[in-house]
Amino acid sequence: MTTQTTELRMPPKPRNRWRTAAIVAALCTFTVLTCLPAIGGVELDFAGMVRNWANGADKMGELLRPDFSFLPRTITPMLETLAMAVAGAALAAAASIPLTLWAARPSNPNRVTRQVVRFIINVNRAVPDLVFAMVLVAMVGVGVLPGLITLFLFDVGVVVKLVSEAIEGADHHYIEAGQAAGGTQSQINKATLLPQSWTLYANQWLYSLELNVRISAILGIVGAGGIGRLLDERRGFYAYDDVSVIILEILVVVMIIELCSNLLRSRLR
């Protein structure tokens, strides 16, 4: 009885059996194709995996026994990581203001320039962060500079995309009033649209700062500065007790930054 009542309460769902079958078939085909080593797919080598896991078990055990005497050596690189994160986020925040205004429809009615900016941003977003870092290290040399540029580019991509979408999702009745008063688009943007959207910006700036701490922690893996270099080095020496200290430290720092960022965010009005 009860189940019947529940069934009646369900919203009617238009079903199309053929379409469902086609989708399932497509998904299965795709999955099978990803498992074919002959065309580049992943070889599902369970036996090898079991062997590897057995070998790795004791290393994993070491991860659970962090050696805290290593901690002092991590402080300077960690500060470098944090400084990179803050500087990258700040530079990107400055650059994101005009770029976002270009990329959003309410603030830029010109279709051509809008699409150009969006395309550039999308290309930028399609490059994985560490790939940027690696190529930049090859270009400008090992150090924090390629890391900083990577964070900057990454943040600009994130902020411009998310904020311009948020601006497009919001109502902007006041733009019509600005037009009716004979204002240019840039006057309207500066005097009304920016004050109106600044919490959207601030939210994403804080968010990009959070992401930055996580990313700058790994940039060192390809030589772009920060704690990642140390992590990669200890990993190379199979010093898993040290690796574990570094990971714990990253974890704590990321959580602290998130806490601060949430605190600031709740103050935004």
């Binding site: 080598d45 990179m84 803050v86 500087a87 399609a126 979408e165 893996i221 990253i250």
Partner: protein
């Protein structure tokens, strides 16, 4: 305009903006200290644009298409890693995330699961995957596995948030009709949450496509490994070609997956999700 003929205006006092000013100064100081504290080669900064331009010319003036077949092969390897990793991640995180949702599992389990998700989330996915990889061996299969495990933190959070937001209306109706927890889950939560969960699953795939390239950089195979190798060989025309392939493939998958996600959410705005 002659103000003399008009009566004087008595302006209300302007509210104090001291707190805003202090906050702005603080933020400015932190940023300044960070930038100054960084070990940036200020003197060499001026010739960096020239150097970057030179490398960009080397890469993209005449990218070498000779190794394209190999690049596509490796790309498929990366995509496969991403796909299998996404499947693994989704298959694990949906039940775990559901159990972590309010009103589904017991309170202690919810607490444990949420804390674990939070911890996994706080460590960069790449580091989790990297450590797993060094322990278990650098093969594409373990790469996929690492992607699956590393994504659980975020994915699990999305699942329980989705379930909880779906819960409000639908599950009360079923409960009112006398349904038990299993029935509520099957008949109320699942139908309401399924579109969002599917869309998140696809989103995980999109994220994994980027992360799998990064794992390749450290040796898990796929396009990332190829890119890393040719960067080390300093064969810039091939690197240029590889970058074009990476960008094009990522954009195409973003585009396809993004439009499927929008279809799934039935015209509704695809929810902005954090990484």
């Amino acid at each position: 305009m002659t103000t003399t003929t008009l009566p004087d205006l008595t302006l209300p006092t302007r509210p104090s903006r001291l707190r805003e000013t202090i906050a702005a100064v603080l933020v400015g100081a932190v940023v300044l200290v960070s930038i100054i504290g960084l070990d940036i080669p200020w003197t060499e900064l001026s010739d960096i644009p020239g150097r970057v331009a030179e490398y960009l010319r080397l890469m993209f003036a005449e990218p070498s298409w000779e190794k394209l077949p190999r690049a596509l092969f490796e790309t498929w390897r990366s995509v496969s890693m991403a796909w299998l990793g996404a499947i693994g991640c989704v298959v694990v995180s949906i039940p775990l995330g559901m159990l972590a949702a309010r009103g589904v599992g017991p309170a202690w389990l919810r607490f444990v699961l949420r804390r674990s998700f939070a911890v996994i989330r706080a460590v960069p996915e790449v580091i989790i995957a990297l450590v797993l990889l060094t322990v278990t061996g650098l093969t594409p299969f373990t790469g996929a596995l690492a992607l699956g495990i590393a994504g659980i933190g975020t994915q699990g959070k999305w699942v329980y948030e989705t379930i909880e937001s779906a819960q409000e209306g639908a599950s009360e109706a079923v409960r009112a009709a006398g349904g038990n927890t299993a029935e509520v889950t099957r008949w109320a939560l699942w139908p309401a949450a399924a579109p969002a969960l599917m869309s998140f699953a696809l989103y995980r795939f999109e994220i994994n496509i980027r992360t799998s390239a990064v794992l390749g950089l450290v040796g898990a195979g796929g396009i990332g490994t190829m890119l890393s190798n040719y960067t080390n060989y300093r064969e810039w025309d091939t690197v240029g070609m590889l970058l074009i392939v990476v960008v094009a493939v990522t954009m195409v998958f973003d585009l396809v997956s993004g439009s499927i996600r929008r279809r799934i959410m039935e015209g509704g705005r695809a929810r902005a999700v954090d990484r």
